[in-house]
């Protein structure tokens, strides 16, 4: 008989339930190297079709299955079952409005992303071919472009929990910095203007939860520090 994995999964259907509750499931260990997403899929396909969660790529690329796993944010699809304490507590991303079960409302998160204008802004005339960038300048985007906007960092940030309506949060700020360091972007000044705010940027208290939560091992804290230094050097 296959080894059994015990899970305790957050359930809430606002149309039926008054209150959220944790439901226990038992899933066989299907293969070595099995990921948490495989267990959730097994529950959905074989045990309980009502369990609701987001997932798409299944390999850590789309960023849709950010969850709180045993108290730590991460992507279900790349989190190995092995090494997780059982029963595995699976909850939606913290501080988020739950739509159903493990599905949370990401609208505000993406609104904040839109606020940093995540696209190239340039005044100089369009070159005939592509906008060139030296390998060194391209290298400066390493550590930022890999972000898949899963929200694991932002929803683990205590400052964002208390002031998420105004503080942009680590994910959006990492991307703000990504455009500030991009050699092809010509809106650095306006970008900095838009960040210089006691709440939007400076609400980060360097707690570094974001860095620990990031499944892509990116470092939003360092990016925030870089924006601060940019602002400082502009003024001094």
């Amino acid at each position: 008989m296959a080894e059994i994995i015990k899970l305790s999964v957050f359930r809430f259907d606002p149309e039926k339930d008054d209150k959220p509750f944790m439901q226990t499931y038992e899933v066989p260990l299907l293969k070595s190297g099995m990921k948490l997403l495989d267990a959730l899929n097994y529950i959905k396909w074989e045990i309980d079709g009502t369990l609701t969660y987001r997932r798409s790529c299944g390999e850590g690329v789309c960023g849709s299955d950010g969850l709180n796993i045993n108290g730590v944010n991460g992507l279900a699809c790349i989190t190995p079952i092995e090494g997780l304490k059982q029963p595995i507590h699976v909850r939606p991303l913290p501080s988020m409005h739950v739509i159903r079960d493990l599905v949370v409302d990401m609208d505000h998160f993406f609104d904040q992303y839109r606020q940093i204008k995540p696209w190239l802004q340039s005044e100089s005339p369009m070159p005939e071919h592509e906008r060139l960038q030296s390998p060194e300048d391209r290298e400066r985007l390493d550590g930022s472009y890999e972000c898949i906007l899963c929200g694991c960092c932002t929803t683990s940030c205590p400052s964002w929990w208390w002031n998420g309506d105004r503080f942009l949060g680590p994910a959006a700020l990492l991307q703000a910095n990504r455009w500030i360091v991009d050699s092809r972007d010509e809106a650095t000044g306006e970008r900095l203007d838009q960040l210089e705010d006691a709440f939007r940027l400076y609400r980060c208290h360097q707690i570094m939860n974001c860095m620990e939560a990031c499944p892509k091992e990116l470092n939003p804290t360092a990016a925030i520090g870089h924006i601060r230094r940019k602002l400082l050097s502009r003024k001094s």
Binding site: D107, D111, W162, A198, Y202, K235
Partner: protein, 119 residues
Amino acid sequence: MRVVKEPGAAHSGLSDWYWQRLSAVVLALLLPLPFFLLVAVYGGAVDQQGLLDILDHVVSRLLHTILILALIIHAYMGLKVILEDYVHTIAWRIPLIGAMLVMMATFGIWWLAMIWAWI
């Protein structure tokens, strides 16, 4: 596409942060001095008259002034951040920050008056 209704940046975050860091550096440099003095007094290296002479010296008074200003700026900035973090109602936040500012300024003026023997 949903339009983000958002008031934009207040363009004031840098100075808060800057003063908090600057005052921290000044504190780190100056705060050990009174402790050295204290140790010297308890160790018997400085007697009461010596202590008064040191405190009376114009350089000590200047350093003392800078220290107390840095202390007040640092405490004010730190408590302001805490109030901003946890008090979300503007109708509470602004009076609380204001009250704190008045209290700290009073304390600072009182202390400065002692340093420079105004009273």
